[in-house]
Amino acid sequence: MYLAPDAEEEEIASAAAQFLAEAMPISRLHATTGAAVIADMDKALRQALGGMGWFALAVPEEDGGSGLSAVEHALFFREVGRQCGPLDVLAQCLAANLFAEAAQRRAVIAGEHGVALLVPDGSGFRLIGSPAAELALHVTSEAAGIYPLDGLRSENRPALDPANSLRVAEALPAPLASLSGTRIWQLGQLGVAAMLVGIAEAALDLIVEYAKVRETFGRKIGAWQAVRHPCADMAVRAEAARAQLWYAAAALKEGRADAAAHLDAAKHLANLAAHGNADTAIQLHGGIGVTDEHDCHLLLKHAMLLARVFGSRRDLLGRLLHARLDD
């Protein structure tokens, strides 16, 4: 029993952090002119990620992946979350785990084909991700399918979260590939929970750093208890969500019977931590917190998007209530 990243796992996490800070920094999301930008993942970024093997961490080696586990998957997506990485990264990664056919799988792993995420909304669908994506992934807790986007009619919508384009579509074409079972859903839940934990941590880091330098009434704001105490509460939320994330990742890696319940709990706690911490970070920054040039609002908006995929609050809590847990 060891519920923390070990030395090798830490190494992967820091390699991911370093790579993402260069290839996909959160600063890419700031609008430079009047109109809002949507900084979707373009082909060059996709191929850069693919070239490093990041889409295939949890894909077996014989299938062209790294042969690592859910744990490394979680560590990677926590870093993606810190940079408000687009959902495409996760969709791409899940598609790499879904495709059974070698050529299709290779093209996704290498980032040659892009994958967006489809989620049902009423009678139609929401399509989240780059308009350049050729494929779309739809995942439920029982099955997952991949759809071609070339013939699909979709309509663009203005997106609150600049990390992803948002479109609506009426009907789906026939799937290119599908896979029944819970694996893709569970990797998706874990990935989103990890991104949300990354957001919760990033929000905490931002305010802690600012509270050490900003002065009011002759003191650093970090010396005022009305600032210190909500920061401590943010730390508790992030800590709880992170510990549960580790537990869920290890449970999934080990194929434990109660992994689904631990994933639901991890997603729920990560939702609360990311949203709560982004909210508090904006408030404790004062005026600068509501400006576009600041990262706080990016964290909030991305958390709002991520909260709605791979289990909304209602679904998660509904399942969790009677879930049985092992020792």
């Binding site: 519920l3 210190r228 401590a232 549960q244 080990e254 319940a261 709990a265």
Partner: protein, 392 residues
Amino acid sequence: MDLHFSEADVEFRARAREWLKANVPAETRPARGPESARFDRAWQRKLYDHGWAGVAWPKEYGGMGLSGLQQVIWYEEMARAHAPHHINTTYIGLMHAGPTVIARGTEEQKAFHLPRILSGEAIWCQGFSEPNAGSDLAALRTRGVVDGDHIVVTGAKMWTTDAQHADYQELLIRTDPGSERHKGLTWLICDMKLPGIEVRPIRTMLQDEHVNMVFYDEVRIPVADVVGEIGGGWSTAMATLSFERGLGFIGDQLELYERVGRAIDLAGRTRLEDGRLAIEDDGIAQRLASIKADTMAIRAMTLADIAETDRTGIPGPKGSMMKLLVTATHKALSEVVSDILGWDFLEFDGDRSAHPWTYEYLWSWVFSISGGTSEIQREITADRVLGLPKGR
């Protein structure tokens, strides 16, 4: 990262479960009075006789020397078996005084006190807080004057839990009359039967009298009963508190996990005023599930903490964050049960066994005030975990 229990751990769990199943007393703990302390002593004696006493104590001092993980297993099995709550009159001896004597005591002190604590023969209480020194412990004024081989103590302590039952007290006093704050303090073993000690109960909102004021009128305590150095009491006291901030609340942490399951069962058989089962109410169901997630995280944090302590060799400053989360979750659980039970929640006579949920609700303030208030835990987190500039 892995969740495997070793074979030895699995075997330990099975052994603990079996023993507890056969040995947890059938009768409930008397709510108050000397009978309650008698009950605690008897249970501790039973644990001792069967080799289950002092789970965190080193083996050389008669403890079990369990690893952090095995302590988790032990408390989980205690909660599962509905064993007597480990925060009872034996708590201070086992979780505070014993470990302090082990870390800082003389060989004579160890030889005399440790077996008595382990076997339930000696009950201890903690005399740190005073009427004007709680959060700000270093403001304490109870004074001791060295007179030959004795220290003569005069003053008052407040909030001393179980002083009326205690044989000994960990007593923190000021022995250097001109000293300020953290200097000039001394940590003493005080025999509660010494002349000049008066214990006066304080009745609490739980309808009980488990906390007290203790007055000292020229009480003569042998210098041989100083733990650590005369004047070095602050350092000894910080050692005492570090045991509590480490795994001191581990039992409560893990018990919550068990109790939320009981609350869900309760909601599944209790009808609301409108005739529906409580669990059919969306609001109640969602709050219960959310609290269940919190208790899962608390367990995960406990396990993560152990991994970190294993790696660094010292418990980190995260105990404060744990206490914040555990006390908030404890209160949230009590509040949702209040909504489940409706009017029944308002029936209370101070008996924890008869009215466990209402008792726990009232206890939630004791939990978030004693052992360092939530505000102080936030201060500690801000200072030591986040490194924010000091406000004080």
